[in-house]
Subunit: 245 residues, 2 copies
Amino acid sequence: MPRYKLTIEYDGTRFSGFQRQSNAYSVQQAIEEAIAQLCVEEVTVFAAGRTDAGVHATGQVIHFDLEKIFPAEIVQRALNYYLKNKSVAIIKAEEVDENFHARFSAIERFYQYVIINRPAPLVLEANRAWHLREALNIEQMQQAANYLLGTHDFTSFRAQECQAHSPIKTINQINITDQNDHIIFHLNARSFLHHMVRNILGTLRFVGNGKWPAEIIPEILEAKDRAKAGPTAPPYGLYLTKINY
Amino acid sequence: MPRYKLTIEYDGTRFSGFQRQSNAYSVQQAIEEAIAQLCVEEVTVFAAGRTDAGVHATGQVIHFDLEKIFPAEIVQRALNYYLKNKSVAIIKAEEVDENFHARFSAIERFYQYVIINRPAPLVLEANRAWHLREALNIEQMQQAANYLLGTHDFTSFRAQECQAHSPIKTINQINITDQNDHIIFHLNARSFLHHMVRNILGTLRFVGNGKWPAEIIPEILEAKDRAKAGPTAPPYGLYLTKINY
């Protein structure tokens, strides 16, 4: 029974998120329905990360098993055909051995968060970035971000609904670049808590616009209280860009 | 009578092009209607470049005169308000003297053309790039592009409907970058003929995929025959990015 690993891109705008839901259209449903058209099998796909409604992916990874053997290239082509105009595309398809698991084998997850910082509303990048008009101090945001690197209890940055066993996570990188009003946050960790990246962004924004000093971050971490951190940043600035195995 | 210079961004997808037409919705009409809402004046706006239907802009420049004096910042804010959800945004507004003309004062126009070169269909960049699946040799395309630099008779790259007095143009730069399957062509010249950038792209594509050698370019130029160059590349990969005055 062959197992396939797929790297996928999607525009999260019109999806209820990655995970299948009974009453809303998810990325998982779109892909599972495309697979059913390819091989008349009911399969379940597993993803490296369950992205929220509105969150995009350029490098999400999924896996699933099929009864029938198809060359990986045919799987890619056929699914792209069935996914036409569904805002999902298969960037790469590989046959992998049965020990591979998109979620549990992942050792590093990469996200990008895009802020466009200008007075004018977004046009070409509407639904693709967080639009902020206020002046933002990149250096202060980077200094604040540096306090989050390494292993911490991230309870203050965790959604109430988060189902992770432990709030302890290790952030390997938060690197902020700024080019032509596009402020891009590059984050990576083995794994993140639910809403963790967006809660970090909502907090860094308050440092960037001067509401809070960078030195507030250690206090927020120590408080282990979601109410101490900033609000959750909107989903449409967030991209799941790469998974390392 | 104050004259305003505006730098504007638009998503060309749903427009019939920049220039006003009697039977289709243009960028010019969208802006002129917004100005009429601001000051109940019927104004005509002039643009640095008349982009085709589907062509985008991140740095188009327009000018117009108003009877009434408004601070430039108010003009920007008000027009952005009236242009909400119309796929046009005013990035910058400045008051200029009456000698400034968006079209005639321009000394250099910058365009970018984006090709995404991968098997998978476009999702996040649908309508934002030309999707090509075939292998493209960047070095060969750059070599071909270099033959176009400088002053030439560009009759072979000119649309039949082109109204320019002379087919002689001077290209200052065609620089091709390639990152993560995104092949971006950076072109600039004082001015271009109608469809010239898209006809150049359609020709460079045939060099990139090996249909034609790079050395065909001098022959195409010399032929002064539109039929000798490649087909017109699609509009949705093209961006007017900057105007120098």
